[in-house]
Symmetry: C2
Subunit: 324 residues, 2 copies
């Protein structure tokens, strides 16, 4: 058996490190990157990548181009924006380099994070937690009479990847009207599907618009003035994909006019936003600092997911979460 | 056909009022109570109750005793604490007076409200919304590494009424280990069931303890020192039933010691809590002001539920949400 060399720039310690080392043996590991950079998108790739057959983590794009015998890159993130270029794709095709992501690892926490946003929105959680122990009739009445339930409400989901499919399963018991937008519907989706061209009329019927689009040239500022204007007045907007997919000035305007009643954002562009950014003072703009995929067992889950794909790689089975 | 007289002390306006009036005709309505008291537990019952065959709202207990031909009381609340006495029960039995609640109306908003608490807890929503745009490594790392998902976690639900059953359906896609405590398990429950005597060991295995108990003599301070001590260290506690079912001093201690990592309370005793109450400054004590059942269409839903029961009453069918 040929002994493979796995480069990784993710930071592992104790049992999780042992888990990786013991389960890839006799194949070897080259440790690179900065301490603690579990999913940093900016980690620097050690020159050691040149010696690797497999990379697990966030190897730099130019460093990948510079390698000669790298056969598979397994990203430690769900997103793959900086690898999603025609140039990279062509190189990967020519060299038969596989690219996979950790999207399955992040699907559950991201879907639950988004779902926590939706329930907090209908139950008016930020206002209710702030009102707290204030039983003045006006504040309680205002809360009760503006709270709703997801039951029977409608949602448009932009994107139909792992997170979307997971979210749809979580939403099942709520009997929502679910429409998913997909670049190329395949007819095997479990919900009603539309193409991007059919989006505007669909937005007019949705109480919730959930943006899960990945960041790439096609999705740049996908949600802009016309899209927010097409939404049902007072609907809520959510983004847990990439900040680049939203025209944030247009969103800010829509929040100020009340066209969009609330925005729940786990991602912005840039991250963090500059301290004087208008979204930080826009009404009902709820922001979490890109923690949607976070999980107490994140590093262990990343390693287990890599190990499953490594097993598949050795057996020449189809890889999970494969981009190309 | 005998023309019945329906007393109601709930405040209705416009279309919702017409909905009730038109659908009970030719039976008549006597309007009592104070304007705006949709579900107030303290509304005063007009003397007019004496003339009624049916009461819809929150008729006073002593006023009900004083009536002679009242046959059915349909409460506009899910709770029925003040009617839940041996004395009232005996009187109702002797006089063949039926008591029903609006619990079905509140089951969905209450279940979703509780569910929003659980998801906010695992996704650390209060801290994440506060951290907001702060990408300092320490705060983000702390958030990500303490966030979890409901997937595979365990929950003990105290009480097995309409809200519990509804909540269990919502939890299905999360593959949680669900145990429900019921005074008298009937064997037809859709989840694993325990009696109150079996509670302490069950608490030791639960990541979430959800209290849905109604307020009565049996449930008074049901969750006290020994129960909180029996919980898995760091588990979360939720209450959307009645504040009286919790020993709040014991809860406060458990929050301070970290035995209970967070409390999510939609109900307290009294409501509101006095401004200097220790729970108001206890760590991770998240309070909403008894709004769990709130819904934008609450009054319409209450009327529709009453009308369905009124139809059943006329046809001598079994009444929905019947207490006795």
């Amino acid at each position: 058996m040929q002994t493979l060399t796995i480069f990784t720039d993710i930071s592992l310690e104790g049992e999780t490190k042992d888990l990786l080392v013991n389960n890839v043996a006799p194949h070897g590991i080259i440790w690179g990157g900065k301490k603690g950079s579990l999913i940093s998108l900016k980690s620097e790739t050690a020159p050691a990548l040149a010696d690797a057959d497999i990379a697990f983590g966030q190897p730099g794009v130019s460093e990948i181009f510079a390698t000669s015998h790298l056969r598979w890159v397994h990203l430690s993130s769900a997103g793959y924006t900086r690898y999603d270029t025609a140039e990279f794709c062509k190189m990967a095709k020519d060299r038969k380099l596989a690219l996979t992501t950790s999207s399955s690892v992040y699907a559950e926490p991201c879907a639950e994070h988004l779902f926590s946003f939706m329930l907090a929105q209908v139950r008016r959680l930020p206002a209710a937690l702030k009102t707290r122990n204030d039983f003045a009739k006006a504040s309680r009445h205002q809360l009760r009479s503006t709270s709703t339930t997801l039951q029977g409400q409608s949602v448009v989901i932009l994107g139909f990847g792992t997170i979307a499919r997971h979210l749809i399963e979580l939403l099942r018991p709520f009997n929502m009207k679910i429409v998913a937008m997909r670049r190329q519907p395949k007819g095997d989706e479990s919900v009603s599907t539309i193409t991007p061209k059919e989006l505007l009329p669909a937005l007019a019927n949705a109480d919730h618009v959930v943006n899960l689009l990945p960041g790439n040239d096609d999705s740049s500022r996908f949600m802009a003035g016309p899209q927010f204007a097409a939404m049902k007045r007072g609907a809520a907007f959510y983004n847990i994909g990439r900040g680049t997919t939203v025209d944030q000035d247009a969103l800010n305007e829509a929040l100020h006019s009340g066209q969009v009643s609330a925005a729940w954002l786990d991602v912005t562009e840039p991250e963090p936003l500059p301290a004087d950014h208008p979204l930080l003072s826009a009404p009902n703009c709820f922001i979490t600092p890109h923690v949607g995929g976070g999980h107490a067992n994140e590093s262990e889950m990343l390693v287990r997911h890599f190990l499953e794909n490594f097993r598949r790689f050795l057996n020449e089975d189809s890889l999970l979460d494969r981009v190309f």
